[in-house]
């Protein structure tokens, strides 16, 4: 019997509850326990992916009860792919936390920080492996609550309000999800995704089913920060501590996108969403607007983390656009972009965090001349930015290529133009930063926004300030940056999981 589906979820949760116990005894133990738990779940997700690719979809019955009574975990290639993305990026985020947290958090918060981050990871992993719509709701709620708490854990000015707004908007989302789930339950009498998929075709013209779909899509759309519903994102993502920004931007909104895919394709089925109620093409249009507006907002930002946050609004648009095309090549591009964007945005937020950690710089203008001061970090930043823009050998290019081919496959020229314009806009704001980094003149002496931390040594700028960050922070940056390039060249590695996933979703 293969226990990987439950172990991948249980490892972070057990870690999350071990940490408070050990934290009472010795606070220093929190970090190693968190790392081991994240490492274990990364290991299990590799194991899971290997067995899914070998054996096909795995079904796991918690408690030994079969679906109508018990909870079922279903791991198909898409779930395995999400597991792998989540556990790898979050492992790096946990590793990165060690040094970063000491400076950003008020004292005594270490225990709760690591507990919450593991709950967040465990909730996301649970949400992607579950085969039950109600469990999806519960786990979404678990990781959302952890995310609200983590946004305001750093106690920066405005973080409380950002967290509160995120909470209110996202709980409207979760309540809508629960309502949609309830509607589906009332008409079908089941909550198991496979059973739902089997029973729904008979009910396609029922208004209740259509209403349920609308509620679910809007609910998960808020979680995903789909364009008109994105208003909570920029504050929350830019004010959180850097490792949390990474998890929020690279993973949390992607789990929302995953849930939309799951609901639309695995529960309602392709015929329904492209047929009488063309929700798929609505999503594509919404995503197209999101790409353009997100990029335009990002251009006007002066704070580096806010710029990255708005860029996430744009890039979730690429994912949803690929999904909305509902054709093989387009969806491959969209799902592949989940992984590529996670790598690139993770790396960018890590780099921004490293700069803030060393110098307290948040304003883009002050990035002038950092290229010679922090060469490794800035090289990684450039690589990741290239991947975001989609410059050829990088991973971002490959997913955009698939997306562009997908729009041609669907015969929708408009979206091809949107992708090109979006990439151009992305290039504008990323290349502006890269240009400042390498060709801008350093004006360290005469700037004020460095103060931030209020540290006495910041008053006297010296070379000590501008060296590379500690290794626990540098290694995640380097690995993610290398990933951005390597997975562009060896694109067949992620594709080996994505292609069977897309085939399964489209039902052929």
């Amino acid at each position: 019997m293969d226990h990987a589906p439950i172990l991948v979820v249980i490892a972070p949760f057990v870690g999350a509850y071990l940490i408070p116990l050990l934290g009472l005894w010795k606070e220093k133990l929190c970090y190693p326990v968190a790392t081991v738990a994240a490492l274990l779940s990364a290991f299990f997700s590799f194991w899971l992916t290997a067995s899914v690719l070998e054996l096909g979809t795995i079904r796991y019955y918690v408690g030994g009860w079969e679906p109508p009574w018990g909870i079922e975990l279903v791991v198909d290639p898409l779930s395995a792919f999400m597991c792998l993305t989540i556990s790898l990026v979050s492992l790096f985020a946990v590793i990165y936390s060690k040094n970063y947290i000491g400076r950003e958090l008020p004292g005594g918060k270490t225990t709760s920080y690591y507990t919450l981050i593991l709950l967040l990871i465990g909730g996301m992993l649970g949400a992607v492996v579950t085969g039950d719509l109600f469990n999806l709701f519960v786990l979404t709620e678990i990781f959302s609550v952890a995310a609200y708490a983590l946004v305001c854990i750093g106690r920066k000015r405005g973080s409380l309000i950002a967290s509160y707004r995120y909470l209110i908007l996202a709980s409207i989302g979760t309540s809508l999800i629960l309502l949609g789930t309830g509607y589906l339950y009332v008409v079908t009498g089941t909550l198991n995704m496979a059973d739902l998929a089997a029973r729904l075709p008979a009910l396609y013209d029922s208004w209740v089913v259509i209403g349920a779909m609308a509620f679910l899509v809007v609910g998960f759309g808020i979680k995903t920060a789909l364009f008109p519903l994105h208003t909570w994102l920029p504050d929350a993502h830019s004010i959180a501590p850097a490792p949390i920004s990474v998890i929020l931007s690279a993973l949390v909104i992607k789990v929302g996108a995953y849930s939309i895919i799951r609901v639309l394709f695995s529960i309602f089925g392709v015929e329904f969403i492209t047929g009488p109620i063309p929700i798929a093409s609505v999503l594509t249009w919404v995503a197209a607007v999101g790409i353009l507006m997100g990029s335009l907002f990002a251009i006007s930002q002066t704070d580096i983390k806010r710029m990255l946050a708005y860029s996430s609004v744009a890039h979730i648009g690429y994912v949803v656009m690929g999904v909305g095309l509902a054709m093989e090549i387009g969806m491959t591009g969209g799902i592949l972009h989940i992984f590529n964007h996670a790598l690139a945005k993770g790396c960018l937020f890590f780099c921004a965090g490293a700069v803030i950690y060393q110098t307290g710089i948040r304003s883009i203008d002050d990035f002038r001349g950092l290229g010679s001061k922090m060469p490794v970090t800035m090289a990684a930043f450039t690589l990741a930015a290239a991947s975001m823009v989609g410059i050829p050998p990088t991973a971002g290019f490959m997913s955009k290529l698939y997306l562009a081919l997908g729009t041609l496959e669907a015969g929708a020229w408009v979206f091809l133009i949107v992708i090109l314009v979006g990439s151009f806009l992305t290039a504008v704001f990323y290349l502006r930063v890269v240009n400042l980094i390498y060709f801008g003149e350093s004006r360290v002496k005469s700037q004020e926004s460095r103060v931030g931390v209020g540290d006495s040594r910041l008053q006297t700028p010296d070379s000590r300030l501008f060296r590379e960050v500690p290794l626990t922070m540098l290694i995640p940056i380097i690995i993610l940056a290398l990933g951005c390039t390597l997975f562009g060249i060896f694109v067949f590695i992620p594709l080996s999981v994505v292609e069977p996933a897309v085939k399964l979703l489209l039902g052929n």
Partner: protein, 140 residues
């Protein structure tokens, strides 16, 4: 002042409430209720104590550390029962399969009770913590 009345009633009621909570936990398998509801009731008794006396007397009976320890222990006990079933060769939480020298139905009954107790410990600490944390100036 009425504090004497309130305090006396509180002092008399608290043990009964806790006893009722434990009853609800232990009768979980055969009657409405279970670990969660019983845990909330026991936790509520601590809240009553904090309201009728003051925060510090409730803290003295269940301090921050004790609550955190109980909270984690309950959750880990739950996960532990699940993992034991895994080791015995079943699915996660398939406790009927654990080899104990009695009938499978009895084994299942014992473990349902144990799971209820684990959830109860977890929830009673959590319910008390929610109130006390909010009432005192603790961090989240």
């Amino acid at each position: 002042m009425t504090t004497v009345v309130i305090q006396t009633i509180g002092r008399i009621l608290v043990p009964f409430i806790q006893l009722f909570g434990l009853y609800v936990i232990i009768h979980g398998p055969v009657s409405p209720g279970g670990g969660f509801q019983g845990g909330v009731i026991v936790g509520a008794s601590m809240i009553l104590l904090a309201l009728s006396y003051d925060l510090s007397s409730a803290e003295a009976r269940a301090s921050h550390k004790v609550r955190i320890a109980m909270d984690s222990t309950g959750a880990l006990l739950f996960a532990g029962i699940g993992l034991v079933a895994l080791l015995a060769g079943g699915f996660f939480l398939e406790y009927g399969i654990i080899p104990l020298p009695m009938a499978p139905a009895e084994v299942r009954g014992i473990f349902i009770l144990l799971v209820g107790v684990a959830i109860g410990i977890h929830i009673m600490a959590l319910a008390a913590s929610l109130f006390l944390h909010l009432a005192e100036e603790h961090e989240i």
